[in-house]
Every structure is written in C-alpha cells, then in structure tokens.
C-alpha cells in the first residue's frame, strides 16, 4: 500500500514538473514553430542557479523565483539575439538551440562540477502527512499543487485575457494576426520568457526530488518532447494531460519493467501519432 502511494505521488510530482517544462515548450512551438531544444537546459540551469541562491538565502521559493527570472532573461536574450535573426529557418533554429544546450551543459559542468548536488526539502515540508496510518510525502503534494495552480493560471491567462487571445490568434494565423495590429514579435518574446521562467523555476522546484546533475537537461528534454507530441503542439490542456500521462507511464514503467522503460514511454506516443498526427488535443490543421 505505502509503496503504491509513494509511486503514485512520485508519478504525479514528475507529471507536475513535466508540465512546468512542457507548457512553455508547447506554447513556444505552437506560436513560433520553434522546437526549442534549450528547454531542458533552461530547466537544469534554473536548478543550478537556484542552488547558488540557496547558498546565500536558504529559501527554496525565493530560489525558484530568482531561477525563473534569470532564465526568463536568458531565454529572452536567446530569442531576441539568436533565434529572431533565424526566423523562418527551422533547421537553423533547431541546430542553434541544440548548440546552445551543449554550451550550457559544459558551462554548468565547469561552474557547478560533475557531482549531483542535492537540494534540501524546505524544513516545513519534510514531515510526511499521515492519513489513516499511511504517510504521504508532503513535498510531492506541494509540487503537484504548484503544477495545478500554474496550469490554472496559464489557462486563465490564455483563455480569459485579451493578451491570451492575441497569442492564440498568432498560433491560428500569425501573418493575419500581424495584419490586425497584434504585436506578434513582442508577444513572441514574452511567451519565450514565460516558458523559460517556468522551466527554470521547475528545475529548482524539482530539486528536492531529482537534485541537479550533469545530464538533467538531456533527461528532461525528451520527456517534454514526448509530452508535447502526445498532447498536441500549442495545446495547454494537451501539455497538462500529456505531462501526467507520461509522468505515470515513466514512473510505473521504470518501477515495474525497468528494462522496457523506454518502450513503455515511446510506444503510446507512436500509437497516438500514428492515429492522430496532431496529438490528443492538437488542432488538425497545423
């Protein structure tokens, strides 16, 4: 019983972290048609920046905010200075983001070293919650709550505000959005910064569960890619459902059939893509 509860909460926490990563990835891909392969690096760099903050101020939430802000700045610079001049050149953008992710990985290795750095769980959240004699790991519940709250906030932003409608108009028909005066390029940068901030904050929020280590970026990026393909590019709901689906498949897959973890992970994606090329919640005409 305890084992299953822990695994379920692990899968939900991983799903929540994946959502923080995949939501931005999906929005960026949906709006700008950029497969931003730095997204895993933003996650890892956010974790490392957060760890450096924690050295001075031992507050995980402050570290998450600062990590997120630093990544927003970094992402905004990458978008404006590097990706913008490559607009329309999809292959160039993919290669550049891949290159940046290698550079970031090496720089992280130099600055933070090769050993995994654990991130302590905030003291207030270390004690498990006991319900009926079963211990629920509190921090994982908090991560889940953060992801759900973020999803809700993003939903309200995208669905209930004029800015959100403008972003969706840009996803529908970028050229036409420009022609009605929507400042598409400024929105692009804003969305990029937002996506980067979520990824960076996710990195340090995930710290107490995953810690920070070289290769964290390469572990997380493929999961985000699968989530977005499964859920559908540009779809927030798709990213949400896909994240928890992949979180569960990955957690239980590695626990039950460790040798087949990747088969279990990629098989549902392949099946979905085969029957619905735009993903579960993607629009048909992309």
């Amino acid at each position: 019983m305890q084992y299953w509860i822990i695994q379920t909460l692990n899968s939900l926490a991983l799903g929540g972290l994946l959502f923080l990563l995949a939501a931005g990835f999906s929005l960026i891909f949906g709006l700008m048609r950029i497969a931003n392969l730095t997204h895993g690096s933003l996650y890892m760099l956010g974790a490392y920046v957060g760890i450096s903050v924690l050295k001075y101020v031992p507050n995980l939430w402050l570290a998450a905010i600062i990590g997120g802000l630093v990544m927003a700045l970094f992402g905004g610079l990458v978008e404006r200075l590097i990706l913008r001049p490559l607009a329309g050149n999809a292959l160039g953008q993919v290669l550049v983001t891949l290159g940046i992710s290698f550079i970031v990985a090496d720089l992280c290795l130099i600055v933070w070293g090769g050993d995994p750095i654990p991130v302590p769980t905030p003291p207030a959240l270390q004690q498990p919650i006991l319900v009926g004699g079963v211990a629920f790991p509190t921090y994982r519940l908090v991560v889940l709550a953060i992801a759900v709250a973020t999803a809700l906030a993003l939903y309200l932003l995208m669905d209930r505000t004029r800015i959100g409608a403008m972003i969706r108009a840009g996803v529908d028909d970028m050229q036409m959005a420009r022609a009605v005066g929507i400042p598409v390029s400024r929105l692009f940068t804003a969305v990029f910064c937002l996506g980067a901030a979520l990824a960076g904050a996710g990195g340090i929020i995930g710290g107490p569960i995953m810690s920070a280590y070289p290769g964290l970026d390469a572990d997380m990026l493929p999961l985000a890619l699968i989530v977005v393909m499964l859920g559908g590019v540009g779809s927030l709901l798709g990213a949400f459902v896909g994240s928890f689906l992949i979180g569960a498949i990955y957690t239980f897959g590695t626990a039950l059939l460790p040798d087949l973890a990747y088969v279990i992970l990629f098989l549902p994606m392949i099946v979905v893509i085969a029957f619905r090329p735009t993903g579960l919640f993607g629009r048909q005409s992309v």
Partner: protein, 237 residues
C-alpha cells in the same frame, strides 16, 4: 482632396517571379477605389504589398503622406490600414467576440470609434454568435466577422479582397449594403472584386490590373458607360 493611400511605381516579386510592374494609383479620403482584373492579374499581391506581407521591391506606398512601404504588417495596421483578406482568414479557434477584441485599436481623432456594439449593430446576426468559435461560422458569417474585425481597428483606409467571393446572392447583397453604409460614413476603401456589378455600384474610381500592370485608371462612371473596356480587360476569353 486628401490623398489617403497612394502607390507609386510598385514592383513586387515572389522570389524571382515578377508579379507587379510599376503599379501606381491614388485613393482619396472618403472614396472607394475598385481594383479589378482577371484571376491572377495581381490584385491580391497588390493588397499584400500594401499591408506589408510582401514588401515592394521598388516604389513607394504612402498612407496620408507617410511612407509605409518598409514597415511591418503590425506597424502598418497600427498606422491605420485595415485588411479584409481574400478567403476571410478569421481566427478559427477564437470565439467571434475574441476575434473582434484582439483586433481592437484606439485611434486618435475618430469621431465614432468602432466598438463591439457597433459591429453587432452592423451585423445583427453576430449577436447570438459571440461565444461561438469563429471556425464554426458559415461562410457568409465569417465574411462579416472578417469585415467587423478590420473595422475594430478603426482603419483610416480599408482594404477588402473579394468580400463577395463564394457567398450566396442574398449574402452578397448584404455585404454590398454594408459596404455602401461604410462608404456613406466616409470610410476610405480599396475594394478588390470579381463581382464587377457590385464593385462598379460602389466605386468612385476604378483601377484595372492586367498581368501585374495598370491597364486602366479612371472614374467608375467612365467604366460603367464603356462596355468595351470591361470586355477587353475583365471579360472571360
């Protein structure tokens, strides 16, 4: 008379394919200019150069005297060019209301700015469709939405590319009445149409394109009274 929009010596190319050759015309404020020509004559290309999708390779475009030929579509829109594209191109996954809201622009010196209410008053059938996804509208409703969307930007010049295309006769008549009302309110319009009768009924000036060149430029009255001109440039072989 104030020149609302002027094109002078516009050349436009898709890659190496030279489509517009030295196109020039003027639209005076408060007037309707019909831009006519056979399929493939370059009318849509002309609209694309004005709105900034396809910046002109040569020549100058001026909006109330200000050069706009090198600006981006969003800036051109913000300067006051409204655009109703061929094929409507409403935002299908947005609701009708959102389509209108995202296109709202404030403009100084507009006596009666366009609002959601005024657009609904112009197209009463939109009233019950506000929360509906625009992609689920009928063709005629999408066309009305596309017009309403352009109006929400309070355009100083309105470009319309074949607003009657593919619509049932009753709806064409409704679009025609709408255009007449806009004209009466003093809206400057460039109207591209295959429906010659509709266009000539509204236009003050006519420009006819033929294989990317201006083949005729003159008053609408002149065209109305000269059947040979229509046959020569617009008739089907």
């Amino acid at each position: 008379m104030t020149e609302a929009l002027s094109l002078s010596g516009i050349d436009a190319l898709y890659g190496e394919s030279h489509v517009l050759h030295q196109v020039s015309f003027n639209l005076n404020a408060g007037r309707v200019l019909a831009l006519l020509g056979r399929n493939g004559a370059g009318k849509t290309t002309c609209m694309s150069t004005i709105i900034g999708f396809l910046p002109p390779r040569a020549g100058e475009i001026r909006l109330f005297g200000e050069a706009i030929g090198k600006l981006s579509p969003e800036t051109i829109s913000r300067k006051g060019v409204g655009f109703v594209p061929q094929g409507r191109r409403i935002f299908p996954s947005l609701t009708v209301q959102e389509n209108l809201a995202v296109s709202r622009q404030k403009r100084k010196g507009v006596a009666m700015p366009w609002t959601l209410e005024r657009v609904i008053e112009l197209f009463p059938r939109m009233k019950n469709r506000l929360q509906q996804l625009a992609g689920s509208l009928s063709g005629g409703e999408q066309q009305m939405l596309a017009i309403g969307r352009a109006l929400m930007g309070n355009p100083r010049v309105l470009l319309m590319d074949e607003p009657s295309e593919g619509l049932a006769p009753l709806i064409v008549a409704e679009v025609g009445r709408t255009l007449l009302r806009l004209k009466q309110e003093g809206q400057s319009i460039v109207l591209v149409e295959q429906n010659i009768k509709l266009a000539l009924g509204l236009a003050d000036e006519v420009v006819i394109l033929n294989t990317g060149r201006v083949a005729f430029s003159g008053s609408a009255g002149q065209v109305r009274s000269d059947q040979a001109l229509i046959t020569q440039h617009l008739g089907v072989f």
